[in-house]
Amino acid sequence: MKKIMKLILALILSVSLVACGGGGSDEGGAGSSEGGEGAYNVAYLVNGNLGDKSFFDSAKAGLDQLEADGRINLKTIEMGGTDSDKPKWESILYEVSDSGEYDYIIVGTFQMPDFLKAAATDYPDQKYIIFDDNTYVGNNDNVLNLMYKQNELGYVLGVLAGGITTDTSVANINEDAVIGFVGGQDSPVINDFLIGYIEGALSVNPDIKIDTRYTNDFVDTAKSKEFALSMMNDKKADIIWGVAGNAGNGAAEAVLETNNAWFIGVDSDQEQTFIDELAAITLTSGLKNIGNSLIWVFDEIDAGNDDFWGTEIALGLAENGVGIVDDKNYDAVVPDSVKELVAEAIKAVQDGSVEVSTAFGPNKVDVAEIRDSVRP
């Protein structure tokens, strides 16, 4: 028994050593460069690392563009994304706030609001911008919360899916006018994606049916795979949009298995984050354009319209805050006639001739009723 004990202790020791050794992904500050005179000094604190092909990279691209145009002087600090890095986030945020060197400090994602609330309270004269979070909106007058209109995003994808689902000249597409939606939860945010998707699809084909399933969690990939398989086998859906966090990827795996449908991703360009096989069956992804939204913010500031501090701004197609991936598979697979439909739809929403319903706020519509009326 002693031997076994020794063995186990040795194992535990070696495991913890390995854990310590692997954790040294320390990221220092990235360099800043000289910008034009009168440009704003901006600090972008990444609570993770660049290279995520998602929100962080998108924000960085937008800020790089602003810097290249001589409008800001950018300092990017990668704070690291592991749990051991988390304690640093708050101290770096405080350090940067305390330095007083920056006109604007930019942070993002749902992991930051608590730290930001504390710092923004202690440094009331410092201006902060946080993207994709509205946890404490209105709490501090020096914070701007940027949000993204998922219903308008859904609308564009609905037009795309509705336009393509009866076009049998496209690979993997059958003649039935049925498309699918795998949502994480029957909740307002998810239904906001859905309501746009339904309205977009109906706008190009009034007879279209939309098969909506909710996994009721955001983690059970296997369950969402079963749902997607059922959509394809039972309802002949040939376009499936997954809006369920990681679980949504289960739908992509189901499509890969049967190979008679297309998957649509969400939030980031999933053709880039997926492995090649899954990317090959991903038609496009709905995007939150963090970079564009930051450019929009500085446009407004320069135009003197910056009365938005302390509020939440929801950016849609008009501000280029949301959009879809239009290269790679989209470019190669989607017929020109459908591309035209999509372009028209984007334009219509941008100029206000089409107003997409929403699933929350004072003007919310009864999603359940609409959902049931289009069920296959």
Binding site: N49, T82, D83, D186, F218, V219, A222, K223, G245, F274
Partner: protein
């Protein structure tokens, strides 16, 4: 299309088998531990750990076989950990199991970030981006059988581990009832003092059942991340380790009963997916498997009580 034609399709029965397989692994693990008098409630966490390391090592080695082996080894190591804390350090085994479940949820996220250096951005943590179908456990089309209509579609084309799950039901039964070690396991579970008085090392047997349970849970974890889904993702086992505990109770703690209970659960979940297809509210659909579990437990309890009553009745009438 009639109701029965809509529900009872080939894909429906195929999905029952696929849904049932991981639950069988975990149920067998729970059964063998229970037979040895060990309450192993850490199966969920064990499966999470195995799922993670299985998929990671499949990626690093480029071979699914290595992945499955590492998943099994991980299951053994985690179970040894439970055993060490429970039997050597005298922790309450329920607490040790709970700790493993928590590590399985939060610890795996930590480990995957430390090991791969991946950042999550707005995405939840997963190894989906590393795993291709080449690294997945292969699917087996059984010759001859696969050409039989209906039955071929249901029984052929499953993964290697799916078939293994069903084979293991009988192997577990044989281990428990046809081997000397099985006898020892059952005697330790029934009455450890009696077993120890005839020279059976109780602690050795308890270690043994936990190790076997670890192997089975490891296979269950490998099934989840290396066949059912492509790669590990946060909390992906999603309660299957707990369902297995219910299935064990429902099946009366026997391998064949456990198989039946797991199949009932698989049927219920497949049915709930069909139910969602006809537009029943998702909040009503997702509890169906759990409802079936409760009903099953009630039925089992009633049957067990009736059984217990019968001898009395015979005596009374005599």
């Amino acid at each position: 299309m009639g109701f029965f034609e809509f529900v009872f399709t080939v894909e429906f029965f195929f999905s029952i088998i696929r849904i049932t397989a991981p639950i069988i692994f975990a149920t067998l693990a729970a059964i063998i531990c229970q037979k040895g008098g060990v309450s192993n409630i850490g199966l969920e966490g064990t499966m999470m750990m195995s799922a993670l390391f299985g998929s990671l090592f499949a990626y690093y080695s480029g071979s699914w076989i290595v992945g499955v082996l590492v998943a099994i080894i991980t299951g053994i190591i985690v179970s040894l950990g439970i055993a060490f804390f429970a039997f050597n350090l005298r922790t309450n085994i329920i607490l040790a199991g709970t700790a493993v479940n928590m590590i399985g949820s939060g610890g795996t996220i930590f480990l995957v970030k430390v090991i791969t250096g991946m950042t999550e951005g707005n995405q939840l943590t997963s190894t989906n981006g590393l795993i291709s179908t080449r690294l997945q456990i292969p699917v087996i089309n059984i010759p001859i059988l696969k050409d039989i209509p209906l039955i071929g579609g249901v029984l052929s084309g499953h993964s290697l581990l799916t078939y293994l799950a069903f084979v293991l039901v009988f192997l577990t039964w044989a281990l428990l009832y046809k081997t000397p070690i099985g006898l020892n396991i059952r005697s330790v579970g029934e009455n450890p003092n009696a077993a120890s008085s005839v020279g059976v090392s109780v602690i050795k047997i308890k270690y043994t059942v936990l190790i076997i349970g670890g192997i089975l849970a490891g296979l269950g974890g490998a099934f989840m991340s290396m066949y059912y889904s492509m790669g590990w993702s946060q909390d992906m086992v999603a309660g299957r380790g707990f369902i297995a505990l219910a299935a064990t109770a429902m099946g009366g703690g026997e391998p064949l009963g456990g198989l039946l209970a797991a199949l009932i659960f698989g049927f219920a979940q497949a049915l709930s997916i069909k139910a969602s297809a006809v537009g029943i509210d998702s909040n009503l659909v997702s509890p169906i498997p759990y409802l079936v579990t409760i009903i099953g437990l009630v039925v089992f309890a009633i049957v067990a009580r009736e059984k217990a009553k019968k001898p009395h009745k015979v005596k009374e009438s005599a």
